[in-house]
């Protein structure tokens, strides 16, 4: 072995040794503990940082998960139960099963149903419009049609229909993150339980006015007459403030309520056609 090789070996080893020793002592002196599971959980999350969980980004949520006593109320809507399961596995806990949900727009105030009374000329933003005036129609509860919900959706699951001037949800893309629900200043959008074959039945109105004014503002407004509540056998329908609401967790999709509504405020979608009353069906779908 030549002397160069020898010198090389000796000097490098000494250097390595020295560095190792210094580091060893410093590391001892300045030790800080950070839960390694936070990293693991974060890796299991989708990383969309959408805030659907209610936390500021995925890492924040991971920290919350690690700290949480139970997973009650903690859910990543984007990743769904699979993600929660793997997070639970990492932390050795059981995750609650969450039922998949999908957003619906509870307003049917198309120009045809709800004639325009004013024209809005402010900044195209629903919250701004909502805070300065009641709306372009006589209904001060309905959709303002400026698409703030659409802008909020990170998953290309919404668009504004130019004819109805209402937002439309593309069920296949919707991950039920709830961003649109939070964005809408009028609480028009709701996350409802997903059902087989994308079936939906819900009151497509949020107007709390009494029957007369409500009807005057919009042909398909819910007038709070209570007929649907009477026919529902499952206690799924409640009426409050002149407005009916169908609880998607209780609804059994029996379709009894839809025909009794005098204004057509209840919508049913993706059901097979009814035999005798086809005429009405067509009207609602239009």
């Amino acid at each position: 072995m030549s002397s160069t090789v020898l010198i090389t070996i000796i000097s490098l080893s000494t250097l390595g040794l020295l560095a190792a020793i210094v580091l060893f002592f410093v590391a001892r002196k300045f030790k800080v503990y950070e839960d390694p599971r936070i990293d693991q959980v974060e890796e299991a999350l989708p990383g969309a940082n959408c805030g659907g969980c209610g936390f500021a980004g995925c890492r924040n949520f991971a920290e919350a998960l690690v700290k949480a006593e139970s997973f009650e109320g903690l859910n990543c809507p984007v990743g769904g139960s699979d993600t929660m399961k793997s997070a639970a596995e990492i932390l050795g806990r059981v995750a609650p099963e969450v039922e998949p949900r999908v957003a619906v727009v509870r307003c049917n105030g198309t120009p045809e149903h709800s004639p325009r009374t004013n024209s809005y000329d402010g900044a195209p933003n629903c919250t701004i419009a909502h805070s300065v005036y009641g709306g372009e129609t006589g209904c001060s509860y309905g959709c303002l049609g400026l698409g703030e919900c659409v802008d909020a959706c990170d998953f290309d699951a919404m668009y504004m229909d130019s004819v109805t001037e209402l937002p439309v949800i593309i069920d296949d893309n919707c991950v039920a993150c709830g961003a649109c629900v939070r964005a809408c200043p009028r609480d028009i959008i709701e996350l409802r339980k997903k059902s087989k074959k994308e079936r939906k039945i819900y009151v497509c109105c949020v107007n709390e006015d009494k029957g007369g004014p409500a009807r005057k503002a919009c042909k398909v407004a819910c007038i709070g007459c209570g007929k649907c509540q009477q026919v529902c056998e499952f206690d799924a329908i409640t009426i409050a403030n002149n407005l009916a609401f169908i609880d998607s967790d209780k609804c059994k999709f029996c379709r009894k309520c839809e025909p009794v509504c005098p204004t057509g405020a209840i919508l049913e979608l993706n059901f097979p056609p009814r035999k005798p009353k086809e005429e009405k069906e067509a009207k609602v779908e239009a």
């Binding site: 325009r116 004013n118 809005y120 000329d121």
Partner: protein
């Protein structure tokens, strides 16, 4: 009254100023300089200007429409201003294809990549110019001498600009003799003022640029802060150098009127989009440009430094905007 009543948040009246009118005002302010350059360089100058303006507008149209898929924004006139100013800092004998590349870079790279009007951190026309300067140094530093009307400039006689002559001679210590020798290559003050000398299109005639400044100040298109702080800083800095060593430096007046300083200080440093927004910020920005300009002119490799100085201070603009806020109400006068 059969229409629907309009509803909107206040205010319900608006001022008369629009983006388009402001840009048009800048174009008007540039007309004297355009006239001067046509006077000295003939139709070739108009050709360069036209090519630049038209290609800027066309590029903006094509990019907004086909690449960004937005509604084209050429009506606001900002592309016209960019085109004009780009042309104004090019030599008159520049081949057309190079001008077109410059326009593409100015609009495509410096402006539209950032989302168009209002979003670009760097001055588009200057980016276009510096890009060309660094890409085609030979073509960008051959300056035809003015021959008046009607002649082509493809094969014109070329000469050095005032600043490049100075740049060659600072270290030789013969500046004062150069200036005082009749018939020396170095242009005199009246040439600087009226514009009969080599240089890029828009920079030669000081009087035309000053007319533009007066117009823009009168029309409130710009405020005094930026031009005054730049010119003031250059004057002070060069005066100090000159007083310390008159044979290796030229006097402040000469500095002010030569090169692209006036064009830059009046029209390019004042670009709204890329300059600070508060008065205090503008002054800091102007001082920065002044100092860097003189440093580059006097000590750097390039005879002229305004273009770089403005771009460098453009980079500082966001920081200036963050740290030099307007004076808030309640900050200045405390309890009376």
């Amino acid at each position: 009254m059969n229409k629907l009543l309009k509803i909107s948040p206040s205010p319900h009246v608006t001022g008369k100023e629009t983006t388009g009118k402001l840009m048009f005002g800048v174009v008007i302010a540039l007309l004297p300089a355009l006239a001067a350059t046509i006077w000295f360089f003939g139709w070739a100058a108009l050709l360069v200007t036209a090519v630049s303006v038209v290609s800027c507008v066309i590029f903006e149209f094509l990019i907004t429409k086909y690449i960004l898929k937005k509604t084209p924004t050429i009506n606001d006139g900002s592309a016209v201003v960019t085109g004009l100013l780009l042309a104004f800092c090019l030599p008159v004998n520049l081949p057309v294809w190079i001008i077109i590349i410059g326009a593409l870079v100015a609009i495509g790279v410096a402006k539209m990549t950032f989302g168009g009007l209002g979003n670009n951190p760097f001055n588009p026309a200057l980016v276009g110019r510096v890009f060309l300067f660094l890409s085609f140094p030979v073509q960008m530093t051959t300056w035809p001498v003015p021959r008046g009307f009607a002649t082509g400039y493809a094969d014109a006689e070329t000469g050095a600009t005032a600043l490049s002559i100075l740049n060659e001679n600072y270290d030789k210590g013969n500046i004062d003799s150069l200036l005082n020798t009749p018939g020396s290559e170095l242009p005199g003050y009246s040439q600087l003022f009226w514009g009969e000398m080599g240089g890029s299109l828009g920079e030669i005639a000081a009087f035309a640029l000053i007319l533009g400044l007066i117009y823009m100040l009168a029309k409130k298109i710009i405020t005094w802060h930026i031009p005054v702080s730049i010119l003031g800083t250059v004057a002070v800095f060069t005066a100090l150098l000159w007083l310390a060593n008159p044979s290796s430096n030229i006097d402040p007046l000469y500095h002010l009127m030569s090169g692209g300083l006036l064009l830059g200080a009046i029209f390019m440093a004042t670009d709204y989009v890329t300059s600070p927004m508060s008065g205090r910020g503008m002054i800091v920005y102007g001082i920065g440009i002044g100092v860097i300009t003189v440093l580059i002119r006097r000590f750097g490799a390039y005879p002229e430094g305004v273009q770089f100085a403005i771009l460098i201070m453009n980079a500082f603009t966001p920081l200036i905007n963050t740290y030099l806020k307007p004076v808030r109400f309640g900050e200045e006068v405390k309890h009376g």
